[in-house]
Assembly symmetry: C2
Homo-oligomer: 528 residues x 2
């Protein structure tokens, strides 16, 4: 058992629970408390420190929420392996009680059992009307909104608006405020290995806006190769801007360099760290081959959409493609839509030098698209360590949801296989049934459950415009593809094939355990 | 003298000054207190109502700020002509004291003499570095930030964030939240005569973003005709998207329909209510001719950029071009950048039916670019009547600045003529000098004063690409053009010509009287 000796009198002013939390967190972070070690019970520690038991409980709850310790029923609290946790900024390990005033109270952190609710995220009015009866939505885009740190968000807003700061009203920097770009650069460097300066970053109101901007920076008319399936929004954005689109079905071997060479695009748009919606990871060898290919021509670029890499539940985070780019060929795109909230409308891109020059000469006149107050709030949220804590807390929450869903799916005979697990906010389920994908979705819809057929994420008729046949390995309803899955910690994959079965996408970000259970029971009625 | 009898005991709970303010405002609004009538002195009214004199003073200050009454030195307070004032929403005339809690306290409203400050709005880093020594910036884009209602803004933010509303985190409606679009539709109808439903409105992060969206909705490749001079940003946005651009020098006759027919564009981009930077108003006859021309072909459209129509200091506001469009040919663009703050990043466009359909089919998948919290704050700001009050207050403030600047310019022998006055946030000054426009700007810059040569707003080399000569009536430094100026209340113009002199743009939005005086004195050193 660990012995905990804290000087609760000295140091900065902060609530007692805060000092206990900070002390233990630092001890774990610097390795003084090792993985698996047992912590004293709340009763014992309260006695030793002469504080109330609820004070210790609050400290432990915070540590639990952020993933520093875990509770084992009837056994007590144990130190977690924290090598996976985000530790951002020079502020860590923190001084006792520093920044205590802005720290979230944990009280609101563990509610469960909310009533089901239609999410309606990013949907048009018509599609919302059609879904009026949907109670349980397994949307892969929906996030958990129950654990959002409203208290902190309110406090930061209050602080930002406190002093009648007139500069908050000026238009500001077209690339985004320098302070926010510093915070993003520091986060990207530490969490994603991205090599960038604040001056390489352009902040914008969502990925689609930044892609619109990219279509102007890149000049237009080029050939863009995308993975199939993919984010349909990104496809349509480039398509609307008059780019020539080609889709590469992600076959048994992933994105094969020979196929890329044969198609000869100018731009490749991809999600190497967590392909959407397949959930695959691109092996390092393929990444390096693509970088080499891009380096061969001046105007070739790789767009890395790193949409939800914050959430991995097994192994260390996979470094970004940009982190191994030494030739300035990767355009890195990231967003706060999944890590904070879609309604925030803040994304960022990291441009290589050559494109940064073009951005300044061609698009430098555009005003930033994110309100300055919102930028200031986000900057403070990141600088004061809340973003780090929020990510760690949410990762724990999503991991529980993920584990619960997997456990429930394991019990079902209609589940032939689960793919794309251990990361992100959704899994793919290969279904053993005579129904088609569309029939599953329709019948589930009649029972108030929305699930998504994987065909929604395929772009049809763009496989290869220039030649006949070839690459046409998608059917309306049956998919032959394979996935590179990470095996444990090392990121090396093995291939599995799934074929002949409908595949549905189940997102678990927003649903509670109760809601997932209910949703699956209704799917049982459809599929059993 | 008006007799004022208020029941200060009855009605809703509200501060006393608030009840007095609301009572008098309503009496003026419904015409019971007529223009020019004298109000009792603060001493007398305080005595009659048995309240402290400072209570009455606060009420009068608020009425002064919003333009309901005016103070004449040594004579007292008089009722203003309020036919020009914005009266938005069904809430007016208000019940005594209703919504009192959200009303701005006037205390912060009348500070003056702030230290000069470089605005740096929308400028690149390099241009900011070059201007490091600029103390007094006559930018036409800068707004007054001293009188921003921070108290109200804080309160609304607090209210919006109060109840852990999870729906604030969802992505929301791609066109903008319905509530905000209702508030905008109602404002546009009442203040600008715009005929629209909330469903016709698309909210976006600034005019440039909406213009980017427009380039996709319109389909691309068309010929766009713009007034010369114009907003260079709008020109570059269409240019970047591959549109064919042509500039029409606004000659003696304004935008002549014969010339438009000869150029044969698909789209005309214009600012009929207050041309930027000339400050001219397009006569009704020309508006109707353009509408008729647009109606002749299916794919012709007029883009009406109604950028700063909120601020007119003489005569009634001029109705929008959209208000006389019965054939669905006008795309109406508006912004809160000048009426609230550039950093807010909220604009809106009203689409005619046909383009609305195309928006839904082509661009309906784009997420909104304005954060939902910011939309909610703005909606409350408008719904609760704060926007109306803010506009009226700011119009009074800008009118004073405008009058002060005109008075100061009148004293100067180097001022040959002033143009584009009585509206917006800048005037044009024709300068009697041997210096060139560039020399004036450079010499002023050396003295820490930034003024803008009108040539900054001209697009060169695009007058008429298809033919030789013709239309090339701009020189590097000498401009021949004319302006349609409104004469009194009726909006009918007369033409004046100015030629052979450098023209500088003097924006007065952000500068205090002291700063303007100082700036003009330094210009005296350059020009005398």
């Amino acid at each position: 058992m660990i012995e905990i000796m804290i000087d609760l009198q000295g140091g900065a002013k902060a609530p007692l629970y805060e000092k206990i939390y900070t002390y233990i967190k630092n001890e774990i972070t610097i390795g003084k408390m090792a993985t698996g070690e047992k912590l004293p019970s709340t009763r014992l520690l309260a006695q030793n420190l002469s504080v109330s038991r609820s004070t210790v409980e609050m400290a432990y709850e915070q540590l639990l929420a952020e993933g520093y310790i875990k509770a084992e029923p009837c056994r007590g609290f144990f130190v977690c392996d924290v090598t996976e946790l985000y530790r951002l900024g020079v502020r860590l390990p923190e001084k006792d009680g520093a920044q205590g005033e802005n720290r979230e109270k944990t009280g609101a952190g563990f509610r469960t059992g909310r009533l089901p609710e239609t999410s309606g995220q990013g949907k048009t009015k018509e599609s919302l009307q059609k879904e009026a009866a949907i109670e349980l939505d397994f949307s892969p885009y929906a996030i958990d909104t129950e654990h959002f740190p409203f208290n902190i968000w309110r406090k930061i807003h209050k602080n930002v608006l406190l002093d009648d700061r007139e500069e908050l009203l000026y238009a500001g920097d077209g690339q985004g405020e320098f302070g926010l770009r510093c915070a993003i650069a520091s986060y990207l460097h530490q969490a994603r290995g991205v090599n960038c300066e604040p001056s390489d970053i352009v902040v914008g109101a969502g990925n689609e806006y930044l892609e619109l901007l990219l279509t102007q920076i890149l000049g237009g008319g080029q050939k863009v190769l995308m993975e199939n399936p993919t984010y349909p929004q990104a496809y349509h954005t480039f398509c609307n801007a008059g780019y020539q689109m080609e889709m590469l079905a992600v076959g048994e071997q992933g994105m094969q360099i020979e196929e890329v060479r044969r198609r000869n695009p100018d731009i490749v748009y991809m999600m190497p760290s967590h392909q959407f919606p397949l959930g695959t990871v691109m092996p390092l060898k393929q990444r390096l081959e693509l970088l080499k290919w891009a380096a061969e021509e001046e105007n070739r670029y790789l767009i890395e959409d790193d949409h939800d890499s914050e959430y991995r539940y097994r192994g260390k985070p996979i470094p970004s493609l940009q982190s191994v780019d030494t030739v300035g060929k990767v355009i890195y795109l990231g967003t706060f839509s999944k890590s904070i909230a879609p309604s925030l409308r803040i994304s960022y891109m990291v441009l290589p030098d050559k494109l940064l020059e073009r951005y300044h000469s061609q698009c430098g006149f555009y005003s930033v698209t994110v309100p300055k107050m919102q930028q200031e709030v986000l900057r403070a949220f990141m600088e004061e360590g809340h973003f780090e804590r929020h990510l760690n807390k949410m990762r724990g929450i999503y991991r529980s949801k993920h584990d619960f869903l997997l456990g429930e799916l394991k019990k079902r005979s209609w589940v032939k296989a689960v793919r794309g697990e251990h990361a992100g906010l959704h899994v793919l389920v290969e279904v053993r049934t005579k129904l088609s994908e569309q029939e599953i979705c329709a019948l589930a819809g009649k029972r108030g459950v929305r699930v998504y057929g994987i065909s929604e994420y395929f772009i049809y008729g763009e496989e290869e415009k220039s030649e006949n046949g070839g690459g046409n390995d998608t059917d309306d309803n049956v998919f032959l593809y394979s996935m590179e899955k990470t095996k444990g910690e090392n990121g090396v994959g093995d291939s599995r094939e799934m074929s002949g079965c409908p595949v549905v996408v189940l997102g678990y970000g927003k649903l509670t355990e109760e809601e997932m259970r209910k949703g699956l029971e209704r799917l049982d009625e459809v599929l059993n």
